[in-house]
């Protein structure tokens, strides 16, 4: 029973991996937005990223 379950499970895992590759899945996280105004093309400053000003890395050991 375990083996049958595992065969089904494995087939599902492979199918999901194949579907994910086909659909262009990614492991990275990005913020998806809708209805960005067309004016951004001509006036980039009219849009502000949610990440803007967030980063102030000082780095180093």
């Amino acid at each position: 029973m375990f083996r049958k379950f595992y065969l089904l499970y494995g087939a599902l895992v492979l199918s999901t991996a194949a579907f994910g590759q086909y659909r262009g899945w990614s492991l990275d996280t990005v913020n998806q937005l809708k209805n960005i105004p067309k004016s951004v093309r001509d006036n980039p400053g009219s849009y502000r990223s949610v990440y803007a000003g967030y980063h102030h890395y000082t780095g180093g050991k």
Partner: protein
């Protein structure tokens, strides 16, 4: 009427005999007809010779019946694996290992047309036992019976502590026999040596519920404790098969990876180098890239950034915007690289390149909005941005590989712990257990 010699007398019909104990006078019923060799009086615990019409007393023993009460009362009838049986005898036996006494119970099952069968019970674990039809071959490490190999499990001296009912052999309390068990779950092959006579029997593990249902016993069977010597593992039989299946899946995964890597377009759609200059960036720092087309169906987009940072950082707020629909993917990426020397030697941290893959981006016309933030120590720095359509994501295969591996590892671990519990009770305990027990012995 004939005048010849009278016909020879017919043998008596087998029937349950009602007799009385010559010691205490208690009623004794012989259930197994002529097959009983000894019968035990439940009243005074005299072992009587069932073959003797006067039931000669062979042995008498003292016993507290409450400590050895049969779970299946004598005289109980039931259908065990398709055959009707009556429980006619019961005995409690024991072995001593490292000063600890282990008890188990045996029940004699009788059917006038079938061979005698036995049930054994130890801590809620049951075995259906019958005498071997052919002689097994055995040595110190194992035995072979009907083409099946059995591993040696345990050898010990078994003692009969308590007997009740009828037995097809000359049973005695205090009788000692050398017993050896060989296992091939769910079967156990046992040899029992009494004086010079060796009896081989074959047993098959049974669950208490099956016994209870067979004999229509009230209540529930005692719950099994621990792992018994021939108890079938719920997982062991699947382990090899699952590893084979895992190997096959891993090969399929490699094939999948190769196929998708070959069919991935990996199409560069934008490659630009920009210059950040703090003097010129007093106003609005953000800008947009040239428009580019993403073709094909829904697929991913890789955005790569590189900058010649040296103990500095640059951070880019990106937005990949669909010019036609207004849909956008907003993300920020850092490129930083630090290095130096300290008391531990040289060190480095970060990279001069960065990559991000945006998932499931439909075809269309797009542009990038880029808003750079730069280390205040840097007056100016160039950086390159490239956008590539449809790239393989190998992390998905890594996750799939782990997803395939984890259940096999869990099942293997469960099988290992089950077998470890089984063999810890044997003459061949697992290495670490034997060293632990010898260690604890030294401490005492």
């Amino acid at each position: 009427m004939g005048t010849g010699a009278p016909p020879p007398p017919l043998p008596p019909k087998p029937q349950a005999k009602g007799l009385n104990c010559p010691k205490c006078g208690a009623a004794i019923t012989l259930r197994s007809f002529g097959q009983a060799v000894t019968v035990v009086c439940a009243g005074c615990h005299s072992i009587l010779d069932a073959k003797d019409p006067n039931l000669a007393i062979l042995q008498q023993f003292e016993a507290i019946t409450s400590v050895a009460k049969p779970l299946i009362p004598l005289g109980t009838r039931g259908k065990l694996r398709g055959t009707d049986y009556e429980v006619t005898g019961f005995q409690r036996r024991s072995i001593q290992v490292d000063g600890i006494t282990y008890y188990w119970h045996e029940y004699v099952l009788f059917n006038p047309y079938k061979a005698i069968r036995y049930l054994s019970e130890y801590n809620g674990h049951w075995n259906d036992i019958s005498i071997c039809k052919t002689l097994p071959t055995a040595d110190f490490s194992g035995a072979t019976y009907l083409g099946e190999n059995y591993k040696h499990f345990q050898s010990a001296e078994a003692n009969s502590d308590f007997v009740l009912g009828e037995f097809p052999w000359q049973v005695r309390v205090g009788e000692k026999a050398a017993v050896t068990d060989y296992v091939h779950p769910p079967r156990v092959l046992s040899s029992e040596k009494l004086d010079k006579e060796v009896t081989w029997s074959i047993g098959e593990y049974m669950y208490g519920r099956e016994i209870w249902d067979s004999f229509k016993l009230p209540g529930d069977p005692p719950a099994p404790m621990g792992v018994y010597e021939n108890q079938p593992s719920p997982v062991s039989l699947n382990v090899t098969g699952m590893w084979v299946a895992f190997a096959a899946f891993a090969v399929f995964l490699l094939v999948l990876m190769a196929v998708f890597d070959m069919r991935a377009k990996k199409e560069p759609v934008l490659e630009e180098t920009y210059q950040y200059n703090r003097v010129n960036a007093k106003g609005e720092p953000s800008f947009v890239s040239d428009e580019f087309a993403l073709g094909g169906g829904t697929s991913n987009v890789q955005v790569k950034t590189s900058a010649p940072v040296d103990n500095h950082w640059i951070y880019l707020n990106y937005a990949l915007i669909n010019q036609d629909t207004g849909q956008a993917w907003d993300f920020g990426r850092e490129v930083s690289y630090y290095h130096g020397y300290d008391s531990d030697g040289s060190w480095s941290e970060g990279k001069r390149t960065d990559s991000v893959v945006i998932p499931s981006v439909p075809a269309g016309h797009y542009y990038l909005r880029i808003e750079p933030e730069v280390d205040p120590m840097l007056p100016a720095i160039p950086y390159s941005v490239s956008v590539i359509r449809d790239v393989p994501v190998f992390g998905i295969y890594g996750i799939a590989f782990l997803a395939l591996l984890v259940p096999v590892v869990i099942i293997s671990f469960r099988a290992y712990t089950f077998e470890r519990s089984r063999w810890s009770e044997s003459d061949h305990p697992p290495m670490e257990l034997s060293s632990m027990s010898s260690g604890s012995g030294d401490d005492e």
